[in-house]
């Protein structure tokens, strides 16, 4: 099933002589059950592209259709409601709230979707237990390691069963082993036939987890041959 269809997508920051064309006529189709990696140098427009696909940034031209919904036909609040049920996020710097416990952080998307707090926190605890964080349920994220924080962020990203998960550099702050563990979770636990995952990354160590890799250069997408790095000796 087609999850995302972008056609001739343009996104520009600023105007006139100061205009920066971050996304220039991108065409992209992503299907459910697919883990897509978007790679490319800093400033190539990767983050802008996923911001547009996630409905966070508006775009000037073209089409961005996610699960049959065209963002330009929606106002801000409609887009917010759409994100609430359909999109999960995993951020590079986690964006976990340090004043809340691990359980509460993971429960947030459920609460936003109208689930009662007791039920939401019970489900959050169950999911965290599945991700081997059962001893950290009441711990503040700031007391967790990078890998634990990223697992927490992933749990928050898919606890509400979104159909699209957008990950921005999910392994940037992690060592190789932890990065592998995070990608294993994304690939084996999170990805399913009804869900698509887009991962923006610089990290060549995780290319092997991708079903497809696209390279972004100067605001445009180029199909990249999937390269699988040699396995590391243990």
């Amino acid at each position: 099933m087609e999850a995302i269809r972008c056609e001739k997508l343009f996104k520009t920051y600023g105007s006139g002589a100061n205009a920066v064309h971050a996304v220039k006529g991108v065409d992209l189709v992503v299907n459910t059950g697919e883990l897509l990696l978007i790679v490319g140098p800093s400033g190539s427009g990767k983050t802008t592209l996923i911001s547009v696909i996630a409905g966070i940034l508006p775009y000037e031209e073209g089409v961005c259709n996610v699960f049959g919904k065209e963002y330009r036909a929606m106002d801000e609040e409609e887009k917010t409601r759409f994100r609430k049920t359909n999109i999960g996020f995993v951020f590079q710097s986690f964006n976990l709230i340090p004043m809340l416990t691990a359980t509460e952080n993971v429960a947030v998307p459920l609460l936003l979707n109208g689930i009662e707090s007791v039920e939401a926190e019970t489900r959050a605890k169950t999911l965290l237990t599945e991700l081997d964080l059962s001893d950290k349920l009441q711990t503040s994220p700031k007391e967790l390691s990078g890998g634990q924080q990223q697992r927490l962020a992933i749990a928050r990203g898919y606890i509400h069963e979104p159909r699209l998960i957008v990950c921005d550099e999910p392994t940037a702050y992690l060592d190789h082993k932890t990065g592998d563990m995070v990608m294993e979770i994304l690939k084996k636990k999170v990805l399913n036939k009804d869900r698509a995952i887009i991962v923006v990354t610089h990290d060549p160590r995780i290319f092997s987890y991708a079903d497809r890799i696209l390279e972004m250069e100067d605001g445009q997408l180029v199909e990249k041959e999937k390269r699988v790095p040699l396995p590391q000796s243990s």
Partner: protein
Amino acid sequence: MFRYALKMLINDRAKYVGIVTGLSFASFIIVQQASIFVGLMLRTIGFIYDTPQPDVWVMDDKVQFIDDTKPMSDTRLYRVRGIDGVAWAVPLYKGILKARLNSGNYQNCNLIGVDSATLIGAPPIMLEGDIISLRDPDAIIVDTVGANDKLSLDFPVRSQPLVNGDVIEINDKRAKVVGICKAARTFQSQPTVYTTYNRALNYAPNERKLLSFILVKAKEGISPKDLARSITNMTGLKAFDREDFRWLTISYYLKYTGIPINFGISVLLGFIIGTAIAGQTFYNFTLDNLRYFATFRAMGAPMTMLRKMILLQSFWVGGIGWGIGTGAASIFGFVSKNSELSFVLTWWLFLASMTAVGLISALSSFLSLKKIEKMDASIVFKS
């Protein structure tokens, strides 16, 4: 989500304490200064409270407030007694006279001369002695604060309070203490001394006119306001019911003294400093948490929910700060209740301070709300 909003606020200890401290300080200053102001204003009309029997106070038409006595001739009393609707009318002397103590000290006293026959105008609460004793030769009743303080025999040491049987001189004439009463403190903090009207005239310096006030009771069914109007119409004297006389006095102090401005400035400073501290700290709190609010927004939190979260946080600290501030001010008032300090905390001061702190909270949240509304949700992707 609102519980989480509060946890975000409370668990950021340093900022939480900073905001609550700012609001507590503002609340304390507002309540404390306003209570002292109200206390001072009530002192100006304390004597009216202590003299509850008359419905109407009659005075010279140039009188501006209760301590601004302009003597009338005694014949005015008879004219007032002749007016329809007057049940009774009695004279009252009120003036400042010098008292000389055994120690040789002199003190200015507020001398009240009450009607010799009925003793109307006498102090309402006697702590020692009996009001009837005012009919004894040279008898005076002294208020307890004065007896223990300025009229104490060894003032300013204050170890020998004036007691029943002690003799002092008022305007070089003998005066014997026959009772100690409880009376409202006066605005100038002078001791209050009660005696009979005739004796007061004896103590007072020789003047042609000595009648300060005429205290009037309205006949049953007659409105004091209507009676006051008809007394004014028929005699040319000023006449007020109790409420109007209180306001006449308070209005004078509000209008012609710097008291309201001075206290108003203190209250305003409390408000401004509170707003500055709480506003800035709360705004910083929002700025520090902007990424998290943007994360909520990205995850699908509607803007109305974010607004409510900000307002909840702001009014939560407002409520806590108000509680601490007014609580501290109340304790301050309780501790200082037996001191010279005038402090009256009324229910409407609670309400007014709550409104002021609510306004501070609203102003504090205003900038934060603006920031949230203008935030770029894509900052969630910035590292």
